[in-house]
């Protein structure tokens, strides 16, 4: 479980995130929505430790991890799939997966973990020896997600997984995310600009606008309050 209290992130004078409170529950998905520039990436980077936290706190299963560096947080089980489909382009698919597994929490042995990934995404088995940079966007995203999940994380942070992908692939990916949440009991926080697909799989929602949270609560209440149709004004 991830609990964030009153988090602020500044880049020098730029206030990227202002007093954000929220979190993610085990086995469930929290969606962070907002237009670009809203602060979604800054928020996720602060959670994984890549951004320095100006004020506020983050707790992982009750333990305060605010002072820990990115390396330690990763060891504790925070997996972060960064925005922009970041992967090791000149390593093969299998090397990417091995590396992710090797430096994760290693709760499962490598062979079964790899077999799992290849069963779920057969195309990755086909492309196992190909350099990751040569895969298509969708295939890369599948690999990136698999790298995150093969680490047996406690918390999964996904930054705009659907970015630049065709609708069909996006559906496939979200199916995977949603299944994974149910079976692994991992707490998932994902950010999306594309609200629709994120809302489909999430139970909780936060909407960011220029670094501030303009809505935070369950998806249910978003709909009940009639705010769902209002999202465009929250963005635009």
């Amino acid at each position: 479980m991830l609990e964030i209290t009153d988090l602020s992130v500044n880049y020098g004078a730029i206030k990227a995130v202002k007093n954000f409170s929220g979190g993610a529950k085990d086995g469930l998905i929290t969606a962070i929505l907002g237009a670009n520039g809203a602060g979604k990436s800054s928020l996720l980077r602060a959670i994984s430790g890549l951004n320095v936290i100006t004020s506020g706190s983050i707790k992982l299963d009750g333990t305060d991890i605010t002072r820990l560096g990115a390396h330690e947080r990763s060891r504790l089980g925070i997996a972060h799939a960064m925005e922009g489909r970041r992967l090791f382009r000149h390593l093969t698919v299998e090397e990417n997966l091995r590396l992710a597994w090797r430096f994760g929490t290693r709760q499962v042995l490598l062979k079964p973990a790899l077999d799992d990934v290849y069963a779920r995404f057969p195309i990755l088995a086909e492309k196992a020896k190909i350099h990751a940079g040569l895969l298509s966007g969708g295939q890369q995203q599948m690999m990136i997600l698999s790298c995150a999940t093969i680490r047996s994380p406690r918390v999964l942070l996904l930054d705009e997984p659907s970015l630049g992908l065709a609708p069909l692939i996006t559906t496939q990916i979200y199916q995977f995310i949603s299944d994974f949440a149910k079976h692994s009991n991992v707490a998932i926080m994902l950010s999306e600009q594309m609200a629709a697909i994120a809302l489909k799989v999430s139970t909780d929602v936060c909407v960011l606008r220029q670094g501030t949270s303009v809505f935070s609560g369950s998806k249910q209440s978003l709909i009940e309050q009639g705010r769902a149709g209002d999202l465009s004004s929250m963005y635009l």
């Binding site: 972060h80 000149h90 390593l91 091995r98 590396l99 090797r102």
Partner: protein, 294 residues
């Protein structure tokens, strides 16, 4: 023809040592985009330590290992006190000057405490007299052995980087350090390790070269590092195969120019090649051209 062949073979042999230096430089360039401009002093330190220790009666093998251990430590130190702080505070030029300075410091300390005289280096691999007959040519076994040792080390290193997890981790860190951090790779260890390995390569190169020249003095190593630069740039910064090809090409061309034109121009031609390559194709023969989206 004989003369030509003997030059080519000699060139290939010294070139393999240049390649060894280049591979060492590549290692730190991969992980931090920096390299040790004072690498010459590292070579010198290893060779001088070995020479001094063996002069005290210690066996060659132990002397060499001690020398290597000393420079491995130097590798850790140079990264800690010259490279890391310079990268943080002194912009793009800082680390070049800081590592250059550190090399000068090492050289200065060595000549202060051991004098600037040349010290004889023991014959570790064969003696000057040992020759082998290859294709009718009498070739010094010392030359052949340095060729074999260098190639062996390069191949082993390449194997390690390609087929072990640590090697994969190094390659990953080289491509995207932030990604490596967030995936829990021990980046600090990898960076330190790359400097240690780089120093070890340099130390071995120093020993091999001292083997040929027979002596070591505190100024030893400077020209060799430059040759390593040229080899690395010709082959493409960051490519081991490139370093090998680059080194051997530089070695052969150097020896040919030295044999047919003038021994002095042997190194000069290498620098001319360096400038040409940087001007025309900075990524070298095997390097990847950097494409940016601005």
């Amino acid at each position: 023809m004989d003369f030509f062949l003997s030059l080519v073979i000699a060139g290939a042999c010294v070139g393999s040592v240049y390649a060894l230096v280049a591979v060492g430089l590549n290692l730190t360039f991969w992980t931090t985009k920096t390299l040790n401009f004072g690498q010459g002093a590292v070579m010198m330190l290893c060779a001088i330590s070995t020479a001094l220790l063996t002069a005290q009666g210690i066996s060659n093998g132990v002397g060499i290992i001690a020398g290597i251990a000393i420079v491995a430590l130097v590798g850790v130190i140079v990264e800690r006190i010259a490279v890391r702080p310079a990268l943080k505070t002194a912009g793009s030029m800082g680390w070049v000057i800081a590592t250059l300075g550190f090399g000068i410091l090492l050289q200065g300390i060595t000549s202060k405490f051991f004098g600037s005289q040349a010290i004889p280096f023991p014959e570790v691999l064969f003696t000057v007299q040992d020759v082998i007959d290859i294709g009718g040519q009498n070739i010094s076994l010392q030359y052949v052995s340095i060729f074999v040792v260098s190639i062996l080390i390069i191949v082993v290193l390449e194997g390690l980087t390609r087929y072990t997890v640590l090697g994969t981790a190094i390659r990953g860190t080289a491509q995207d350090m932030e990604l490596a951090i967030v995936q829990g790779l021990p980046v600090n260890l990898i960076v330190s390790g790359s400097f240690v390995l780089s120093s070890i390569m340099a130390g071995i190169a120093g020993i091999l070269t001292a083997q040929i020249s027979g002596t070591v003095d505190p100024a030893f190593g400077f020209e060799l590092v430059l040759m390593g630069f040229v080899a690395a740039v010709l082959g493409g910064m960051g490519s081991s195969a490139g370093a090998l090809v680059g080194g051997i090409i530089v070695g052969i061309i150097g020896k040919l120019v030295g044999g047919y034109i003038s021994t002095a121009a042997e190194h000069g031609i290498a620098f001319a090649l360096l400038i040409m390559m940087l001007a025309l194709r900075p990524e070298g023969f095997f390097g990847r051209a950097e494409v940016s989206k601005a």
